[in-house]
Amino acid sequence: MKEKLNEILIAAKEEIGKVESLHELQQVKSKYLGKKSVLNGLMRKIGTLPKAERPKFGQTVNTAKADISKLIQNKQQDIKTKEYADKLESESIDISMPGRRKEVGSLHPITKVMREIEDIFISMGFEIAEGPDVEDEAHNFDALNTPEDHPARDLSDTFYIDDDVLLRTQTSTVQIRVMENHKPPIKIISPGSCYRNENDASHSPMFHQVEALVVDEGVTFVDLRDMLKIFVKKMFGEKIDSRIRPHFFPFTEPSAEIDIVCVKCYGKGCNLCKGSGWLEMGGAGMVDPNVFDRLGIDSEKFTGYAFGLGIDRIAMLKYKIPDMRMLFENDIRFLKQF
């Protein structure tokens, strides 16, 4: 009997060792441990043994069963571990291949710069004001204190649509429209298109400006200077200082031109700033009392400042764009860079 059992054990061990799948293992299991298994057959013969040997025999058979069961369990664990490893192996990919990306477009560099300017001023309590591109002389020149015989009024400088209807030459027109319709305090910027009759590498007949206007009691020239400084630093970075120097505009008094530290050489002098270390950025000044008086705003009570900046020029400086004409060519290879 004992020999028989040993034979069975050896055979089972061998068979289990060869098994490769869970399905095969199941078959082996029923062969050795199932109802009709050899071991069960042996057990049934227990009656033929002398009484004294029966318990011992039963015990031996059960131990053999437990051994086989243990072997099967271990094998099952091995197979599962291997199957899992195989699965991982087969699913492995070349993670260096490109991911599925959606094509994303781009905002025009002028739009990007305009938004940046708008957001800087909005964060400082300014509102955005808009006005018409097609303007009358009253708003474009008269209200801005520009004399009748000023050369800016020439056909060679300004696009006309009618005798007194033209394309605005500056966004300062919006100042006037705002002051016509709103009482101070006023704190606005007005970004938009302007038009001048000129066309070359550094001038486009249509270009973009942003105009700022602040009117309230107690607004001073120093406020203007400081606001410009703050804006320029927010726009170009802490390193870029700015300064204002005396100039003439018909609608501001005192008037000033705005320079910023050259964004290329940081003031050392280079070809961009023509060695001066400074770049011209726009015009500014305190609103001329005449402008207020014409609009019925008490120029004794209220003071104000205004400044205008060229958006296209800022975009060119910011993105190092060499030629203004590129801004309006709309080459997709250019646009997608921003």
Partner: protein
Amino acid sequence: MKISYNWLKKYVDLDLSPEELEDKMTFGGIEVEAIEKIGENLDQIIIGEIKEKYDHPNADKLAVCKVNDGKNDLQIVCGAPNCKSGQKIALAPIGTMLGDFKIKKVNLRGEDSFGMICSEKELGISENHDGIMELPEDAPIGKKLSNYLEVKDTCYDVEITPNRPDLLGMIGVARDVAALLQKPLRLPKVTIKDGKESIRTYLSLQNDAPDLCTRYTARMIKDVTIKESPEWMKKHLRSIGLRPINNIVDITNFVMMEYGHPLHAFDYNDIAGKKIIMRKAQKNEKFSALNEKKYTLEESDLVIADEDKPIAIAGVIGGVNSHITPKTNVIVLEAANFLYSSIRNTSKRLNISTDSSYRFERDIADETVEKVSERATQLILQLTGGTLINGFLDSYPDPKDPIEIGLRRSRVKKILTIDISSDKIKQYLETLGLELFREEEDIQTYRIPPYRKDLTREIDLIEEIMRLHGYNNVETHIKPQNIMNNKEFYLRRKAKDMLVNYGFSEVRNWNFADPENLDKLTISEEDERRQNAKLRNPLGDRFAIMRSILLPDILKNVIFNINHGQKDLKLFEMAKTFTRNGKKLAKEIYHVSGIMTGILNPIYWKEKQNKIDFFDLKGIVEELLSIIGVNNADFNNSKENYYQPGMGADILFDDLKIGSLGKLDPKIAQKFDIEQEIFAFDINLDKIFTLDLKLKPTYSEIPKFPPVLRDLSFLVEKKFNYADIINTMIEVDPALTQVDLFDEFTGKNIREDKRSLTFSLVFSSKTKTLTDEYIHNIINKVKNKLKEKYQIEMR
């Protein structure tokens, strides 16, 4: 804290209604959280007189009374022992509501009863239910009880902020109310007649914990009679929710509620060794408090003790060993102050919160001690028949000098905007009890009353000025600009961002245009876009007008890019278009226009590349419209000539054209030298901004039951369009919440004039799980409707 209107009236003339006072207090910084009308339920109770009283024939304990209500004699059955003929009583006539109980005509053991004679408890006046309420002889028969008793009152539950412990009493609140109303404050007049013996022969104080007991005073009154308090005092106590107990306890409570400073009375005979000692408790010292609980004390607790034992946990609770009993004859009146943090710790640790601890832990003033002691003594002498023992024991280790604060009028203006005169400032602050004792130019210097420990700096005074002046009693200072149109500004940005996210690049072209473009697009002569703003001095013929349509310039950009080898393009421009029609200035309208051409998706190794088709464009346009708030536009065959016939759509909202999209007619494209298929759109933003669109989403309930999905396939003639079919389906039943087109099929095995459509139907309900049968019914209804309208054939 609870405040009584009637009680407040003792200290300040109130010529405003309880509701107006509520408003005044709330906007003066004393926030009223709840308001309770007292005595309103007594409105129906009238004063009656028992004219006659007979025994009830069938009940020993009941009596039958004839009660006069001022007009008639009523028979009322009453069971009270003190019911007697000639007694003035409180009568609840038939119909009266007493709480939730309605008085009805009843028959009690064979005798009718037309009303009820009430006890004080039944009226909610006191807990007394031993018998009916006995009214004095002079009570006017037939009049309202509430008017006679003057029980009507308004009780405010107010929130006292932690910085204002001075408001924890009626006088403190009255002072603020008086200041808010700019009326004088009437403080109680207190005078005490001196006694004969000296207190020192009876009692001494010993302060062993001067850091915790900042002041302790005692007065003694002998020969007191412990009894009920007079009605006026009980009324006041009840009005703020306190239960009258006996005259001494009531007086200490009354004065605490009056000044916001607690007091305590001891029975002198219980004090061992003729000495009151303020000391720290011994570790594990035991104490039996008035609330019938035993406490184990710590060394950090302050106790009031005699030579043998603690008689009170200072500021928190008294002891059973020394409290006032009906036998008490000589009392010691404690008025004291303790370090607030110590009281707070003890109260917290022992979990005892009393009206007393609530006040002491809020840092009340040492200086109020004298006043409350005098006031309580006065009332005790008045109401108990006692005699004062001469003298005032006072342990006051560290009196503080009053605080002085300088106030600049210029500073007031700087902080508050308003220009208030020095006189007005003085008036405001003096009604709060501040004393102006120096004034020079801009600066007024005030002495701060001790009960206002919160006033330590100039800015604190400025706050008081603003509070009394009224936060809303000042004109608008910030004038809004309202120049910017935020909605349009940000919607334009959103629209651009959305297009960029869908792969479009933004172009910018000059606003000058070639008038020939309009001919190329075959825009008719009558079209508004032909009414151009023409330049007198253009750069050239190709720039002769201000553009009235954006598309040609974008097409120009397309051919430029194609010529540079870029054939797959998605471009858009957002700009003004200009027309001029008789008026001086031009009409300037924001449009957004764009094109798509070439391959839809960029090269990707897992996907094949698709050519752009109409529905790629339409999907983007629908998304764009939805971003700017247009969610249910109609798409009709386009009237524009430049779209390929059958492949162009005008976008309508309420029959108003807001844009168009479609495939550019190849013949037109050729005029711009373009051979590729171009899909173009144009949207009139300014027109959309004039529509009344709902931009803010509002929450709609999420269904609790899972949705059920079904497919539906049928053949239908091509002449019927999808939009009509789907609208017909969705209208059939509210449980059919969504219908999506799943497939369109034409060709093989299908007649040429027909197409097969497969829809995915979503059913859901907010209220129930949908059964198969229910859904089956709806599908049948859908089928029938479609058969009827479009003669569909099921597949």
